[in-house]
Amino acid sequence: MLSFIAKRLLSGVLLLIVVCSGTFFLAHVAIGDPTPGLLGNSATAAQQEALRAKIGYDRPLLTQFWDWVSHAATGDFGTSWRSFQPVGDQLALRVPVTLSVVVFATVLAAVIGVAVGIACGLRPGGLLDRGLKLASVVLFALPGFWVSLVLVTWFAIELRWFPAIGYVSPEVSVSGWLSSITLPSVSLALGAIVMVGEQLRNGFLQVNNQDFVRTLRARGLSRRRVTTHVLRNASPSALTVLALMFVGLLGGAIVVEIVFNLPGIGSLTQSASQIGDIPVLLGLTAVTVVFVVLVNFLLDLVLGWVNPKVRER
């Protein structure tokens, strides 16, 4: 079990390194000289030269890379090329907002998705099952921001149940926080709910056809007890989808946050990419990949707990 954990962690760290280096070079190659973007078109050559020296862009690329990596390893993501604020400070302000929305959406997807999946798995071909199928077809493909626009117009502007825009910190008011993240989370979660539900439902039916289920029934176990066995065997695929959804939700949150005007990483990513603020982009990438790695690690632990065979790999 220990070597299993070590292997998974190692693979996560490897992914983190590969993605961050990839983004570093991709950003530098793609953006090129960032100073026109940072200063605007009216800046003189001398001003650009001064900024290049200030941000260290005049150094060789590999020096800059090493500089970034060695600092990032200690948790220092450098300073923004635009505002000269530490990137870490900006992330500390904004990541909790995005995480609130994404984690809430993931919880919604897990709880409602599992409930729907079980209900449909128990009664395949029933009304709920057919409804899920229809919903999953549409909601899977519709982007979160599209759904969020619909939800904003309906629930926030027409019905005025929720605030249309803005974010309330849980330190100010927990109920305000909840109501400010409800609509964004729901618009992100809808697609994930149907995906998790559909996955679990299909897994459920597949496991139901397996020999050991017949044998369990032949022992006289009640339907509820057999269902517990089926659920445990069907859960890995649904859990995997849930972890994948988390990654998707992080990306989707960027657009949804803009619709709801939430001060998360969405607008930061947007502005940093438009002006070519590479340290901010790298910090954002690193933080999101760390979360993805953590979620995948958690997933592996749970999968290992659910299915003993996985542990021995």
Binding site: A30, G125, A141, F145, A218, N233, L244, V289
Partner: protein
């Protein structure tokens, strides 16, 4: 028994009729028509659009529909309809680039990984997993920042993130097809790997890839619109995402500006999603379940009274014992499955019985209906199967009219079941202890300690010498012979009066087979159970059975005592089965010798 997501035997011939079958689905046809309309709008935009999409008329800023501007004007004073039509061009152009990029990267990699396996597979899969765990939006924004917002480059980058979807599907299909005999045949015939990949493999992945492309296009269009919504993309090229952003900014005062592009986007994505799902249905990705109606139809057809006059609708087989002496009695049992071409009857009127302490063999080749008969007796038919009978008596009680809950209550108590494949019949996620103790506690009401002691005791009884280790093991940690003993222990721990064993030795090594038969015989005598053994092997029959029922095509062709059937088989089919079985199976003497030799330790791994 598990259904593969894509049946490996999907014959290429069926592709021809795929379109025809698709056109029979109303939802699919509507979706296809909608998509074709969008395509037509995109292609014909220069002729259809009433205005230049970028031409600004200050008079129509925020204008309501009318005055020659069918959908009004946007916040910059441009004609919305014209921009929608040209936007469709951008949308579809981008989607095509994304899908092609995803296809080109994902499919060849997936097919090679699935076909070659090994290092190729591990490297490709790691890259695919890594791609799936990167939040693509950030990378796309980085790309957009640098490439001067070049639309095609951005769409190719989006395609890179879509590639894992293609990769996973083609890899799974290639792995399934890799095992098919025709691929081996091609290799033996000297067809080179690249050629096999190009022809056979591409044919195998064709259908799922079409489905995946419909889904990918839908998602790609959504992400593309998201990027445009964020302000990515040239301002002079009209796009739906950009129009939504414009509408979003004036959402409170002029909601219609947001409405039109949202509808266009939503409808297009939904159309693609429904096309994908209809296609997926046609190649059966989603496991469909027979409806209540189809089950009722099967029941009705099986019990059709008019058929009573037909000779093959009369019950086959006979009863040996008086009803009150039977542990099991079946009268005129029929089992049917609903298929597309009507009801398929797999058991067509079977009558048999077995007394306490008697061993009854049900013999026949695969497809003879012997296993279906035993499942019907247990009321454990696979989904889609329906049984009707004039009567089924278990321990003297008529059970065929009971509800399924009441039938389920007999299981484990009155009637037990020993399956064929030992390892697939244990739940891989739980320990042996859990699987033995759970029924004892919750079906037979023992306390936890008692149930554990009983499980241990039964394991010792079935010949397991180290019960503690076995109890603590997971199914994948024990051998097949051991697993079969565990299953027998589980079946008899509730002391049923009838034990149904479906090919209990087929999946085992020859020496272990003899031991397991011996064990079943001992237990049957000890507990005075009626034992029903389903087998294709007359060797097993000779070994253990008192009486035998021979089945062919769902009917009983001969019933009798074992000695009599062996001495003088009345039906030519029986004679054929006997000679076939005895030719390729070691005789009793050889088995006994092997047993004595192995000393019962062989199955402890």
């Amino acid at each position: 028994m598990t259904t593969a997501p894509f049946p490996a035997t999907l014959a290429p011939v069926r592709r021809i009729s795929l379109l025809r079958r698709y056109l029979r689905r109303p939802l699919g046809v509507v979706a296809l028509v909608v998509l074709l309309l969008v395509v037509a709008a995109a292609v014909l935009a220069p002729w259809l659009a009433p205005f230049d999409p970028n031409f600004v008329t200050f008079k129509i800023v925020h204008a309501e529909p009318g005055n020659g501007h069918l959908l009004g004007g946007d916040s910059a004073g441009r004609d919305i309809l014209s921009r929608l039509l040209y936007g469709a061009r951008t949308t579809l152009y981008g989607a095509v680039i994304t899908c092609v990029a995803g296809l080109v990267l994902g499919v060849p990699a997936g097919v090679s990984a699935g076909y070659f396996g090994g290092v190729t597979d591990r490297i490709c899969s790691w890259i695919s997993d890594a791609l799936q765990s990167i939040p693509g939006m950030i990378v796309l924004l980085v790309v957009a920042a640098g490439t001067g917002q070049s639309f095609p480059v951005l769409m190719v980058a989006l395609g890179v993130f879509m590639a894992p979807g293609y990769y996973r599907i083609s890899r799974a299909r290639a792995m399934a097809v890799r095992k098919e005999p025709y691929i081996d045949a091609a290799r033996v015939a000297g067809v080179t790997n690249p050629r096999i990949l190009r022809t056979h493999m591409m044919r195998a992945v064709y259908a799922p890839i079409v489905v995946q492309t419909a889904l990918t296009a839908g998602i790609a269009i959504g992400m593309q619109a998201g990027l445009q919504f964020l302000g990515i993309g040239s301002a002079s090229t009209p796009s739906w995402g950009q129009m939504m952003n414009d509408g979003f900014n004036t959402m409170l005062t002029f909601p219609k500006i947001l409405l039109w592009p949202s509808i266009a986007l939503g409808v297009t994505i939904a159309a693609l999603a429904f096309i994908g799902s209809t296609l997926a249905d046609l190649i059966s990705i989603r496991a469909e379940q027979p409806s209540k109606r189809s089950r009722a139809r099967v029941r009705h057809e099986l019990a059709a009274p008019s058929a009573a006059e037909l000779s093959d609708r009369v019950a086959s087989g006979s009863h040996e014992h008086a009803l009150e002496d039977c542990a099991l009695r079946v009268e005129n049992l029929r089992v049917g499955y609903a298929t597309q071409s009507g009801v398929k009857e797999v058991v067509r009127g079977v009558s048999l019985d077995a007394a306490p302490g008697e061993v009854l063999g049900i013999v026949g080749e695969s497809g003879s209906g012997k296993t279906q008969t035993s499942f019907a007796v247990l009321d454990l038919l696979p989904s889609g199967g329906t049984a009707v009978a004039d009567g089924i008596w278990i321990s003297g009680r008529e059970v065929s009219k009971l509800s399924s809950a009441e039938r389920a209550a007999l299981l484990g108590r009155s009637i037990g079941y020993v399956p064929q494949e030992p390892l697939s019949n244990l739940d891989p996620c739980y320990t042996i202890e859990h699987q033995l103790v759970e029924p004892l506690r919750y079906v037979h009401g023992l306390s936890k300690a008692d149930a554990r002691a009983r499980a241990r005791e039964v394991l010792v009884r079935v010949g397991i010498t180290d019960p503690e280790r076995v109890l603590g093991s997971y199914p994948h940690q024990i051998s097949g012979g051991m697993a079969q003993r565990v299953l027998i222990a589980g079946a008899v721990s509730g002391r049923p009066s009838v034990l149904v064993a479906d090919e209990p030795t087929t999946a085992l090594d020859v020496t272990v087979q003899a031991e397991v038969l011996e064990l079943l015989r001992e237990l049957q005598q000890e507990y005075g159970m009626a034992l029903v053994i389903v087998t294709h092997n007359f060797g097993v029959v000779a070994d253990i059975c008192d009486r035998v029922v021979v089945m062919k095509d769902g009917r009983i062709v001969e019933t009798g005592r074992v000695e009599q059937i062996f001495r003088a088989p009345a039906h030519p089919y029986t004679a054929e089965l006997i000679s076939a079985s005895l030719d390729d199976v070691e005789g009793r003497d050889e088995l006994d010798r092997a047993l004595a030799h192995a000393g019962g330790e062989d199955d402890a791994r």
